[in-house]
């Protein structure tokens, strides 16, 4: 069967996921195949995205954090998951001590954002990812992530700005980078908390990303950024399935 939840452009035709039918283990297998196919396609055209250095710092640092967390939980899985990404990342970048300074600035910027004022979503998401990288799941991070998850789950969109109260969004809602940043934040938060609410949202955000034209993703998402969020999501799903005794490898 074909994985049915990213077949249409989900920015144009959002999925509500209500009362979805049971389709057996083949649904999980079709999900994995769909994600792997998109990864293969994207890896074939990988590039160093020099236009978004901040994004690439977030990719490098997120990978390092998740590799460490997964390594502590399931070393075999971590080795398999990390090998390819690590090779590519290490070949592309040298350690840069300016990275931490950049992240610290972004984290500081998050502290100045208030839900009682107009919020620029890109600043919020950049600051949130930086803050999630810098510390363990802090309560302030969860409050912001809860707000974003609520907005995405209800509307299936992220808007350019949110007026005071953080309810109805304003401006463009087709900015791919916002959805990718949310995916990154969800990867980080779930890796630390194992709270299924955030894995649930991660799969939906990645459904949306993988429903979009490949060239659009390639243009705006930093190098290795899509590989990172998709590979991480796959690992989380497989680890969960394994923990619950669901054999998704049998046909």
């Amino acid at each position: 069967m074909t994985y049915p939840y990213n077949e249409q452009n989900l920015l144009e035709n959002p999925h509500k996921y209500m009362y979805t039918p049971f389709q057996g283990v083949t649904l999980i297998q079709s999900y994995l195949k769909s994600r792997q196919d998109i990864l293969s396609l994207h890896q074939g055209e990988r590039k160093q995205n020099t236009e978004t250095p901040t994004g690439f710092i977030l990719v490098k640092k997120t990978f390092a954090v998740i590799e460490k967390i997964i390594g502590g939980q399931s070393p075999n899985v971590a080795e398999d998951y990390c090998r390819k990404l690590r090779e590519h990342l290490e070949s592309q970048c040298k350690p840069d001590f300016g990275d931490d300074l950049q992240l610290a600035k972004m984290t500081e910027a998050l502290k100045k954002i208030s839900p009682n004022e107009l919020v620029t979503t890109s600043s919020l998401l950049n600051g949130l990812v930086a803050s999630l990288l810098a510390e363990k799941a802090g309560s302030e991070n969860k409050i912001w992530l809860d707000r974003l998850v609520q907005r995405f789950e209800v509307t299936k969109k992220l808007y350019e700005k949110y007026p005071p109260g953080f309810r109805k969004g304003q401006g463009d809602n087709k900015s791919i980078i916002l959805y990718w940043l949310l995916s990154l934040a969800l990867c980080l938060f779930y890796s630390r908390t194992k709270n299924l609410k955030f894995l649930n949202c991660l799969i939906k955000v990645n459904d949306l990303l993988t429903s979009l034209p490949h060239k659009d993703l390639h243009e705006v998402i930093p190098a290795f950024g899509l590989e990172l969020v998709l590979s991480t999501e796959i690992i989380f799903v497989c680890m969960l399935a394994e923990a619950k005794g669901v054999d998704h490898t049998s046909i």
Binding site: G24, C201, K244
Partner: protein, 246 residues
Amino acid sequence: MVAADTSRSKAYIQALIRNNLLPGFVLIIGNKSGVSMPGQVDSKESINDKLNDVAVQNGCWSEAYINLSESIQMSLESSSTPYEQLEVSNIHDPSVIDIIKNRTEYTFIYSGYGGIILRKELFQTGKQFLHVHGGYLPDYKGSTTNYYSIIVEDSIGASSLFLNEDIDDGPVLRRKKSPPPADRTQIDHIYDNAARAKVLVETLKTYEISGEWRIEKDANSQGETYFIIHPVLKHIAILAKTSATL
């Protein structure tokens, strides 16, 4: 009671009749739009409401005898329960509000279409709305939470509460956890409804005996609010073989 043409309302009404807890009046909000509403059984869905003996013998599924082919109207007529039907699916439609406002009953069992948050105009009728949430409160608020609780702790929950304007945030009257059913493919229309119907029956029986609404948990503002489960996680919950909690 406010009922909709859903498997949940059928489960509730059949359970109330079975337990001799007939409502004084039922307002049915219909759906003539031709588009299936949340909670309605899709004609393409495969529903097995013929339970096997093992499932029924287990006391926690005593309200799982749900005949989905029996209409709400048939159930109400066979039990001589007065009802009125409006061909509007919107609980906030002025005609619905008017009827509720003008009824003499103070407490309404709420069983409308899924995915709706009651707005202030309904609360401004001066009535209180008894709802049974499909999840153990306050831990599991929001939507489809029983799939989450199966994955996390191998259980299904239901909690009765008086609604307020926040999601699953009102005072909890009764809550219950049960092991998941043997056939997890029938959770959406059978077992989630059965778990809720059982808590509803127990809540009403307590009221019948004591003459008052006993609140089990007044402060209910903590907990996690979940959103509709993604099909991949739903499949993991259904196919899970281990009872180990995460």
